[in-house]
Point group: C2
Chain length 454, copies 2
């Protein structure tokens, strides 16, 4: 894959070359992403980012999801992606080792003409996701291990491709846009557990939009930025990075490995462990007071994103198996409320956290919350119980049901939009493949005027 | 140097701890930078960036240099830094291996209250420059060699420090701002010779402003982002990078190594070579038609930034010793006009370019346009002439005179502002140390209404 091949693929693939099933999966990803974002719009990073956008008083031509604010497209892309990622409830792609849909949706909806058909929008999404997965494969595990937040770094490029397609860039313009994108590509894992993590997604979405906008107007960047010494792969990758990756769309990334949808609003690195804890607690009727030890197994690198062992804030707690496992036992569930700051400091939870241990498991290669399996063992005064979670919750092998997805969307959006509007938005999104344009969705994605929040 | 030390230094150093001579040097750097920017405002990257800013219709509370446009501070920082770097005529700092003043001035003037004193502004500039040099030393040559455009990467942090000080961040807020800055830090050498190079400076200035703004409002980032595994130095550096650098202000970076001011509007990597060519041609009366060979010596890495051997555009030609040396001989000077696209394609120049060769010179370490010396040899039909340029033109050892500086500033600004206004602006900037506030400068830095250009 050279820069020129990537640009040509994004620009030249006709909408009708994208299979219907890919569009259906893309539609489901868009529903999940917008749900997470509407809920996340009430979080501190989104609130502060909205204050920033309000301060610059940009043209009010695009909606800011889950709020009454309108602004210019790049600013909307920025805030909406922050909202989408603030709860760490948004989806993942194993080949990316990150979250693909938030930068795509946020930049894409900001760039899309309102008159665009749902099919054209979803086709651009599928192509952007394809770029995300292929660039993730190209950079390889070394990129993440060196400290890069690939959701943001690769997200800048996938967002550039989606906006570039929606702005009808030609191949040469898109190649320039990719060079400009490389001038903005950033994001570090070290910011996990702070607001800067969602900022990084916002920055990617905004950067992708700006790169395409400028390139359309004749701005230039290096037009082979992926390949050759000193290019993206060389600067951000390691000695194993390679552009020799599987061809585009054969199979599509949206089919293989497919998108993983989160059941719990925390880092995916916790999810298999959480599934194991829930299974054991329920099956064996384990009480917190009985527990001597909770041992969570991690294959190599699988807890790399879980950078907090002693979290002090809700955001930090999302990157802590110690907290997540303890809260799961105490509460019997993990929800948005689990990550309120007060919840993190509950003495009963803190006491149980002391009993959670990370256990290295042998394995060849690099694993993550979406690649591999997890052994969980709970030792109680009465016995020792263990299980192996083979399939990541929300993966194609252990998918959320239609009802699970619906519950997640409504759970995320009802309190912001009201029940009626949330259901109307869901219904509109479910019909996206056949939608003649994006108007209804854009209208419903914000609260009705009377109940509007800024 | 840990993150906490850096933040404390930037926040706690009193204005009057900055020596008068440092303020004088800072003032000269500000004059040079604003001159370059006003001239650069007419270049394509600046024109397109202004169209972008116009499209978002942000609040008109800050000036865009050299134009009639007003916009919000972050947008102004973005465009002004693009203007400042578009001609590659702006100054350099050897310890940074890049251009320090453009991101500082662009972000700083956008963040500064109009009522700020000249001394407070210049003190913040000196502190920002100090951070640029120390972080440049910390990252080391490997950063640049891997492909990073350090003007932009470190520029994001120096801009954050300057804006953070001007926004009166406390130590904790500035530490968060540095984490946010790391979420935006980007820029690749591969974009040299394209508009994305100046974009990278614009991105740094804008990012620094936004990082400080958000941190002031309570946005969080990793608050030790420089140090520890996965931090800035680890992700962007190499195995030689270290935070074990000389202490702040002992001596000040603005004294040692000091700022290098460009005499010619092209990459500094050409300058010692150009000085040698001019010396030989003038001393020996060499004509282009006599020349058999022009041999320009480069110590290790010293031509790393000169990435174009066969430039096709004016921007590419700025990174080509082949073009610069040939144009210098043919024209007897190197000016802004040398980098018009038509100039680059002149058959007489192209023919002479064929005779320019890069000659590796032995040396220990890593050199650049501002570190090292250069041997130049011109072989003619009548003889062989050579010289060694020991001191980089515009360096403290071979400084521009006051008259050179004045000529450069007026040459850059008269055609945009008119002679009278250019001279008034120069006079106001010369009095910056004693200025009670920044109002006069801010007013004069844009064309008078009647002659305004957007």
């Amino acid at each position: 894959m050279q820069t020129v091949d990537l640009a040509r693929f994004v620009v030249e693939t006709p909408d009708d070359a994208v299979p219907l099933e890919a569009l259906q999966r893309a539609r489901d990803a868009v529903i999940d992403t917008i749900g997470c974002a509407i809920s996340g719009a009430a979080e501190q990073p989104a609130l502060i980012a909205r204050r920033y956008v309000q301060s610059i008083k940009a043209a009010a031509n695009t909606v800011v999801w889950g709020s009454a604010l309108r602004t210019a497209p790049a600013e909307a892309a920025f805030v909406n992606a922050i909202s989408g990622h603030a709860l760490d409830f948004d989806d993942s792609l194993p080949s990316l080792r990150g979250h693909p849909s938030v930068p795509l949706c946020a930049a894409g909806l900001a760039a899309a003409p309102q008159a665009l058909s749902g099919r054209a929008f979803l086709s651009a999404f599928v192509l952007g996701l394809e770029v995300a997965g292929k660039l993730g494969r190209a950079l390889g595990h070394g990129h993440y291990m060196r400290g890069w937040h690939i959701t943001a770094t690769v997200g800048t490029f996938s967002a550039t491709c989606m906006t570039g397609r929606l702005m009808s860039l030609d191949e040469g313009q898109l190649r320039n846009a990719l060079g400009i994108a490389a001038a903005e590509t950033a994001g570090l894992v070290r910011n996990f557990g702070t607001m800067a993590k969602s900022f990084q997604a916002g920055h990617a979405a905004r950067s992708g939009y700006i790169a395409s906008w400028l390139a359309r107007e004749g701005f230039t960047g290096d037009d082979n930025i992926l390949d050759r010494p000193g290019g993206l792969i060389a600067a951000y990758g390691d000695e194993h990075s390679t552009l020799n990756v599987p061809p585009f769309a054969d199979p599509w990334e949206i089919f293989e490995p497919g998108i993983y949808v989160k059941r719990w609003p925390c880092c995916y690195g916790n999810h298999r462990g959480l599934a194991g804890v829930f299974e054991l607690v329920q099956k064996h009727g384990i009480e917190a007071s009985d527990i001597v030890e909770i041992n969570v197994g991690f294959l190599p690198d699988a807890d790399k994103a879980l950078i907090h062992r002693n979290p002090q804030t809700g955001l930090e707690a999302k990157f802590s198996i110690e907290y997540c496992a303890a809260a799961a036992v105490i509460d019997g569930r993990v929800t948005l409320d689990s990550f309120a700051e007060a919840a993190v400091h509950r003495p009963q939870v803190r006491a149980l956290m002391e009993k959670v241990r990370r256990v290295p498991m042998p394995g060849q290669g690099s694993f993550s919350g979406v690649v591999g399996y997890t052994d969980v063992e709970i030792v109680t005064h009465g016995g020792r119980f263990s299980t192996r979670i083979e399939h990541t919750p929300g993966s194609p092998e252990a998918p959320m049901t239609a009802s699970d997805r619906r519950d997640k969307f409504l759970g995320c959006t009802q309190s912001v939009l009201g029940t009626d509007r949330a259901e109307r938005l869901l219904s509109a999104l479910e019909g996206l493949i056949g939608a003649a344009d994006l108007r209804e969705i854009i209208e419903l994605i914000v609260p009705a005027q009377e109940g509007a929040v800024a």
